[in-house]
């Protein structure tokens, strides 16, 4: 899609790097490989964005299955979400956060959408698995 075109453009304009490394691996491979090269910032931010969405849904399912409830669960989601992404950026990929406008920029990338996704999955799983008791009481 558009990301691929961007990579090609970037590679095309980066002649010196091209001589050393003819083609970059696909985004998927680089996302799972430690300390990958990210010449296009947008690509890395996209990886963070989609990782966040996946994480939001996964945490939502987990919290719904356990079930975790209340403000603590919301707080825990925020901590897990921000913590994992921050660790991924700094410890796994070891990117220079200043290049992306600081840690805050990386932390907030796709956070709200991920939060909404988390709430939806959490509510759906909680409703499906744990709400019947409340209905019978009514």
């Amino acid at each position: 899609m558009s990301t691929k075109t961007k990579t090609t453009e970037k590679n095309g304009s980066n002649g010196a790097t091209n001589l050393k490394q003819p083609a970059l691996e696909s985004v998927w491979v680089r996302a799972f490989k430690s300390e990958s090269e990210w010449p296009d910032k947008e690509e890395f931010l996209d990886v963070i964005y989609w990782a966040r969405q996946f994480l939001g849904i996964a945490v939502g399912v987990l919290w719904g299955l356990i079930p975790l409830k209340g403000f603590v669960a919301l707080l825990l989601f925020a901590l897990v979400n921000a913590g994992i992404v921050y660790m991924y950026c700094t410890s796994f990929q070891k990117v220079d956060e200043e290049e992306y406008g600081g840690a805050w920029e990386l932390t907030k990338e796709g956070f709200m959408t991920s939060f909404a996704g988390f709430l939806v999955t959490w509510i759906i799983f909680y409703t499906g698995l744990h709400s019947e008791g409340f209905r019978k009481d009514l």
Partner: protein, 182 residues
């Protein structure tokens, strides 16, 4: 109740796809939009690169050049939002009608059970038109908004219709004023 929850999820997926489909028909596929969009992206990238290259050491001439480019970008952003606006209004009206129809269908029905107690200013939304005062009960509108928030943006991003970050940062696709460069 769970069937209602899943139905609302399905409805919001459908409306998100329908919305994007209609916007594509009326806006995204038009030549004018595509031209303006690529122009805005190109300009935003160029502007960012220029600012990065010069950093804080800007002389008067460079500053003026950057200001001129920013002005151009602003103008293009304004044109872009104008192109979008008309069809957005049409789609907005259609969706408001659709929403009020669903609102009527789910009126007074508890569609989900919330695993948390919403804060007081959200309770008006999460408990809208519901009987009783058990604020863990969730109304249609609250779940629908949440679903739309997550599904709409992800659909836009998946289909490649979301504005690029550089363009949003430089001026916003809806013509917001450009951020001052730090």
């Amino acid at each position: 109740m769970w069937a209602d929850t899943l139905l609302i999820l399905f409805i919001s997926v459908c409306t998100a796809l329908l919305g994007e489909g209609l916007t594509w028909l009326m806006v995204y596929r038009t030549e004018k939009y595509q031209k303006l969009k690529s122009e805005v992206e190109r300009q935003s990238k160029r502007l960012e690169k220029r600012k990065e290259a010069h950093g804080d050491s800007l002389d008067k001439q460079q500053k003026r050049k950057i200001e001129r480019e920013e002005e151009k970008l602003k103008q293009n952003n304004r044109d872009l939002s104008l192109v979008k606006m008309k069809s957005m209004f049409a789609i907005g009206f259609a969706f408001t009608a659709l929403l009020s129809m669903f609102n009527n269908i789910f009126d007074g029905r508890v569609v989900a059970r919330l695993p948390f107690l919403p804060i007081s200013w959200i309770q008006g939304l999460s408990h809208r038109n519901l009987p009783g005062d058990d604020y863990y009960d969730c109304s249609f509108i609250f779940l629908y908004i949440l679903c739309t928030m997550s599904i709409r943006q992800n659909t836009q991003k998946l289909l490649g219709f979301a504005p690029s970050r550089t363009a949003s940062k430089q001026g916003g696709i809806f013509g917001a004023p450009p951020q001052a460069y730090k």
